[in-house]
Subunit: 430 residues, 2 copies
Amino acid sequence: MKTTRADPQPADFTDVRATNLAVVLRHLRANGPSSRASIAASTGLNKATVSSLTGTLIEQRLLRETGLSGNRIGRPGTALALDGSAYAAIGLQIAADRLTALAVDFAGDQLLLWHRQFSTGPADPTGAGPADPTGAGAGDPTGSGVADLTGAAAGSGRAISAVAALAQRAATRVRQHGRQVLGLTVAVPGLVSDGGTVSLSPALGWTDVDLRALLTGSLRQPGLDVAVANHAGLAAVAELRHGGHQAQSDLAYVTGAAGIEAGIVADGRLLHGSRGLTGQIGRFSLGPAGSPTLADLAGIDKLVRRALPGFDPAALTDLTPAVEQVATEARSGDPAVLAALRDTGCHLGQGLALLTNLVNPEVIVLGDHYATLAEWILPAAEAELSRNTLAPAAGGARLVPSALGLHAAALGGAVAHLDRIDTGALPAAP
Amino acid sequence: MKTTRADPQPADFTDVRATNLAVVLRHLRANGPSSRASIAASTGLNKATVSSLTGTLIEQRLLRETGLSGNRIGRPGTALALDGSAYAAIGLQIAADRLTALAVDFAGDQLLLWHRQFSTGPADPTGAGPADPTGAGAGDPTGSGVADLTGAAAGSGRAISAVAALAQRAATRVRQHGRQVLGLTVAVPGLVSDGGTVSLSPALGWTDVDLRALLTGSLRQPGLDVAVANHAGLAAVAELRHGGHQAQSDLAYVTGAAGIEAGIVADGRLLHGSRGLTGQIGRFSLGPAGSPTLADLAGIDKLVRRALPGFDPAALTDLTPAVEQVATEARSGDPAVLAALRDTGCHLGQGLALLTNLVNPEVIVLGDHYATLAEWILPAAEAELSRNTLAPAAGGARLVPSALGLHAAALGGAVAHLDRIDTGALPAAP
């Protein structure tokens, strides 16, 4: 008989030590620099154990000593802090209109943030657009030592070359900063299966693209852990660690770019489902075939089309300037634009009520362009969320704009690798 | 700074032993009687550890020796099996039309299953109806040593007296069977907050009924662990353990009685949300205020009204005879009844697609009356589920009828207490 994934595994003393290493690391991440005595007092671990654990962590360059502790427990002791100088991880975010690369070190400091224009469709066979305003490096996108791609689905090959080139460049830069690159996660809108295949991404126009295998083959860096995951789930992970929601264990992040998806954290863990195919709230619809979906009713592209009727639809591959124009006109009080925003908020609130009735989050973070427009969308969304949730006051769910901007998923992609260390799984020596 | 609930707790050797006790118990529950050598070989624990662990479990009367092992590993050894003779737990299920009490022992054997007619509304001030066809005991529902209820919300007091009386009688019977009662969980439709208060149950007409406190006060059994939880969640727990879905870690159970709710198991754990207020799929609706909800479109009561137009709506407090008549007429090929069933299946499939797009379950179990009518509802529901899920083939989700009948939630209420032992938290001595 097959046993379930939830079955406990036999425990041994390695697990005890890993658990206790995790306790020390998470204590320091939550509370900042602390003395050994203060760690012992707060965690319930005895002082000898704390000394042994912190010794290991200093040796592995995950902690460093940093002057005298300001803690008031016992004599002033040397304070310990997370050490970001040895390890970092990279997140790459693919959107229909641009690529983002971001690297953070183990202490949470950002080492780089690069954007480049991008087009996934076969309409732009060069893969990467000519503009590279951030200085991430221009030129042949298949350069930088990246091998030719074979086996990529038609139309996605050159796009993937651009992703690989940017990944390669980011990894090189992080190493120039003296950090070992622990891993790289690519954030993709749409359905990503467990093995890292993009089974379906309507926003990118991709079907069954084995992105993980293609990237791994292209990068030719045997030690590098390459992963691919849904962007909403990664953004939710980033919100938990860097978005001011460290205290939450039940959180949903809602993307508001091309398509609407949700990343759901339940009881502190990302909701994965049986195959990783979760969070498709944009597909919400009830009624006969052809009934409008939530994405039809509350999508950012629909909002832009309604609020800016003169806007050239062909210009909508990059939504950012259009969203900024909507915000400008809302600020000047344009009644038609304000009505379109209110309408988007109403429908979004109804969709979030479905999610809230089902998973009862404590906080729902509005991401991407919804965050930019939150001032006008939130009031209507909150009212409809509350009105359509069976539990009073939306079951306690608060609706807040993301503070992480348009690259939350890239940050989550990097954080995913560093979070693993916080569970006590220390990195192997380089 | 508040730390998150997901933070690891320091590990000590007690945790190691609890984890390993859990490994042994779950191995035996999944695989049936096994020798010590076979347990060691299958779990990776060494033989001395297995001897020590099973010694403790035999002493606690959670395991018993049972003749020779049929396992083929090494010499024939004495086989060990789960011992049900010492401990049991009780589940009570409250529906609008009846109460169910069920007890199972630690080995999974059912000790009792009682039903009694029941009415929650103030329209029936005696609380319990006169009929008690199963011999669970008739007479004054506040008898059996149950104290008077004070502080119950208007209209629910006598109903709760009936619940307390049945609980008291079930506990007495289980003790007559020689088992220690580890706990009692009451399954309720609607929103149940973490403390055991029924905040809102449209099906029962209850608002803010502190059922746990009222029952605990009424039963006056200080050692008895009394809990209250949503019926769909408890039914999902029962399906996982007794419904033939032991291998699944991502399962949804859908109630089909008065109202539609879902119990969701994600990665082996019941989805709890921030306050336990999950699973309200019957409220799904998109569109202007007053748009029909999933319960309006696919509810069993709506099906009965449509399929049996001559049926007296006043008779619908107990849906079972009506559902049986629908099945009879469907079997005889009545086209109007078949159309109503197909229509219910279509709408249910659309609602389950919303759930599937969001949480990607491996199996969706149709409970209660949906299970009775599955033969006619399932084909349309499967087609719509597949058509409305973004992932191909509904993301792998299979739609199956429950094999646990109308008392899955009562079973789950009992199982919840016994599951705790399987995590290595052994019961205290009586």
